[in-house]
């Protein structure tokens, strides 16, 4: 699981069917001090995290296949929770 900060979002109309009606956020990995720690990546956001919220993200593809109800989904990253304190 990755600590990250939500820094933006992406909009798509042509993509894998499992992305339909999903919110896609762009995140920056952070370290334990909240400092940027890697290059940005995209994730599904089923919980509706706001801009600059600190979150943790799972990279478990099979969990995402379960939650989008699509065994053919190649998506791995998904926001799992909002961080209150770190």
């Amino acid at each position: 699981m990755i600590l990250a900060r939500i820094d933006g979002h992406a909009v798509t109309s042509i993509g894998h069917p499992s992305l339909k009606a999903q919110k896609i956020v762009l995140c920056t990995p952070i370290d334990e001090h909240g400092v940027d720690a890697g290059s940005p990546f995209a994730a599904l956001d089923p919980i509706g995290a706001g801009q600059h919220a600190r979150v943790f993200i799972t990279t478990d593809g099979s969990w995402t296949q379960d939650t989008v109800h699509d065994d053919t989904s190649p998506i791995r990253n998904q926001v799992m929770g909002l961080i209150d304190t770190l």
Binding site: A10, S13, D36, R76
Partner: protein, 99 residues
Amino acid sequence: MKVGKVIGNVTLSHADSGFRGGRFIVVAPQGAKELKGQNPSGLSDAWTLVAYDNLGAGVGDDILYVEGAEAMQPFDYRTPLDAISVALLDTFKYAPPIN
């Protein structure tokens, strides 16, 4: 899942039959600088990669791609893929906090 820019394509005269229906694109991974629009070339320091594409991505398009074992998940048979395009981006916004 990462943002990439399509910068070319790869054509093959002989390929594994499992690859039929798609084609291969050359993708430049987009780093923070590129997403913020501070690098007009759109080419980051990260290595470019080749990904399978069945969405019809063209040169210059921004896409989301997935790397790793999950890349072969859309297929109902085993293929040796480890990078695939999953979405063509209409728009995106990337605005890290300023400091």
